[in-house]
């Protein structure tokens, strides 16, 4: 059924009353906080992985940045995601370059 034909009395459509979509403000409490928390956690872990040469910290940092990538919103800019990935991967590489012994898990 074409649009015109159906333009009888009970057709609810009003082509003249179209209102464009406005994206909600960024800080809406509805969007979930996990990507930001995971990003922050990843940064902290890779920092302490680099500083204190703890291998398990570096590995946890890689996991954190991966999780924040999985939950990231498409509107988020990819630079931040890329930087957190680079930081955590460099933490792993650096901690293995310094002493190539396999990792002792913290327990």
């Amino acid at each position: 059924m074409s649009n015109e034909a159906k333009n009888n009395v009970n057709d609810p459509r009003r082509p003249n009353k179209i209102i464009r979509y406005k994206a909600p403000a960024q800080g809406t409490p509805s969007d979930d906080p996990t990507p930001d928390y995971m990003n922050l956690l990843g940064m902290i872990f890779s920092m302490c992985g680099l500083m204190m040469k703890l291998k398990w910290c570096a590995w946890v940092a890689v996991y954190c940045s991966f999780i924040s990538f999985a939950n990231s919103r498409t509107s988020e800019d990819t630079k931040q995601m890329l930087s957190s990935f680079m930081l955590s991967i460099s933490a792993v590489v650096m901690s293995y370059l310094q002493n190539p012994q396999p990792m002792q898990p913290p327990w």
């Binding site: 609810p12 179209i18 979509y21 590995w59 999780i67 919103r73 990792m103």
Partner: protein, 454 residues
Amino acid sequence: TAANQHDADVDDNEFAEFEEFDDEEETTTVKSHQEPKERKVDTKTEDVVSKDEIEEEDDDGVVESEDDEFEHLQDEEEFEGFDKERGSSPKSKGSEKLPDLEIAKVPLHLRTNWDSFYVEMLMIAGLGVYFLNFLAGKTKNSKLAQAWLGAHKELLDSNFSIVGDDGTQKEATSGTLMKESENVYALWCSGRAHVEGMLVELKLLKRQDLINVMLRMFKPASDQIVITVDMDKSSMDRFVFAVAQKKAALRLHKDMNDLSQFAEKKNVDRYEIPSSYQILSEIGEANQTLLDKKVCQVLTKYEGLIEYIHFSDQYSGVKSQEETQSKLPETKAVLLFCFNVPDKGKTRPSDMEFVKPLLQFVFYCIDKVSRLQLGKEARGKADKNRQKAEEVFLKSIHSQRQEAAQSRREEKRRAEKDRLMNEEDPEKARKLEDKEAKRELKRKIPKVKMMKVG
């Protein structure tokens, strides 16, 4: 280790040599690999013999080729009790007398066999599994979203002139399902009577996040469809009304601005809807007309699926945490529907067909609310509530403003006193004090005068 400074130097010195010696030893063993087998045997025994002599050798720092480097080992006066033939004999053939000292070839790392890196293998395997699950979850979610759109497209097209505008292009487009994140999709429809626009948010489960998948094993959850209908200001009467599952009702009553201000709990048994629901409403008359036969039928039929229905002309979202609200939060007339997709997470695209009647129910509610006309006293009660809310709000704003002014005044006075205190020359200080006293006096007197005149 040595106590005084001098010996300490010696220690360091030796230590340094030891390091050099190490590199020396490694390079020689590496170099010896290339030469033929028996030559290797000779150099090894020579190493054993020449290990300590080599240290003096390095001190001279004389550059020699490798062969004559060992020449000085053969001459007698250098070493007591050195018999010529014993020293040179190893050169020609392997000698049995020498104990076969086999030096274990120490590799660069201490252990290079790969299976000691088992924890790293585990980590990489974990990342691999996470990535596979990410891909699987991503495709499953997008398939579900497309299935929902496919099932509802025809109904949406018959009710809205544009379906799926994302507001980026100049002209309103149609048919784009916006992907907000891997598990949240949004669809904006507009161009309908009584309605400014309708935003459908598909809040699917985080199938792409392995941790969330495991979490849901213990605490099952289901996909949700949240439909927000922005009504025209004119086409909705003034009332706040919500029907929700018990748990959701508690949360909404606490969090939502308008519900907490206007609505109170109402018991359910007066209406034929299942007891798992809870009614929050401001005006009784609105309940009566809204909960008609058809609505109650839908509520009972889809009892598990309907999470909450929230109609309100004072909707201003969730209560903001920070106390000092600078201005009255802007309110708009909104109908909110939140539906659960059946099967608690094991949703298949075919389930989306099952949810289709709920969208017809949404359109039915839109028309019903736009036709709803409250009685005079009901409307009066609503207006009174709104005034009261506004006054409460203004009072809180007023008191905040007063506190702010109060603290500013104190701040100024303290600054004034500080300037007075650290003023050096007494003469200027006295002048300041007089000015201060005069101002104080001036502030007191006018009050008294006004009282008399009044």
